[in-house]
Symmetry: C2
Subunit: 107 residues, 2 copies
């Protein structure tokens, strides 16, 4: 993705009793977010946690989702009005409170 692009990462930390339905997330939640945000989103990725740095260790995150926006204004103007709808879908696929990170693409 081009330098300067805004990347919004949603990280779902693993932990005892934590659940995450990757099927629902990939096939229902992410497409729903795409529909709501429309052209503001210029890219989306989803990753499934396999492990950590130490051999055999648990993945720190069960899943990670990333959305890319042209700039911070496009993110704010598209996400803001839809935030409640998007967040209210979370209980349908996870009991995890995600960590949200807004970043600027450097490389």
């Amino acid at each position: 993705m081009k330098k300067g692009t805004i990347k919004v990462s949603v990280l779902y930390p693993s932990g005892e009793g934590k659940t995450f339905d990757m099927d629902y997330y990939s096939n229902k939640h992410v497409p729903m977010v795409g529909d709501l945000l429309g052209n503001a989103v210029i890219g989306a990725t989803v990753e499934n946690g396999l492990g950590g740095g130490a051999p055999g260790s648990e993945a720190p995150f069960l899943a990670m989702g990333n959305l890319y926006f042209k700039n911070i204004e496009t993110f704010e103007s598209s996400f803001g009005p839809n935030a409640e709808t998007i967040m209210s879908d979370l209980p349908n696929f996870t009991n995890i409170e995600p960590i949200i990170q807004i970043s600027e693409v450097m490389i």
Copy 2:
């Protein structure tokens, strides 16, 4: 990136007194890792933390770096022999102990 690709994420959590030299990381560390791992790496991205989910909040991570590999075997066979060299470069750009996540690309 294609479904099934392996993504290795290195996340640098923010916190009091934590420092991260993005210039060194982008221009020295990441190219060094690229040289060491060679063709095993099929993609690399770097992101600079801007903020968190709540307006005005600090970014959970000062920086994130991601490397992509065709499969887990390619990652292990290329990273393993170079892990010590790579990790020993960390004090040159940060005082943070990074979180490492190995994921499978779903979307």
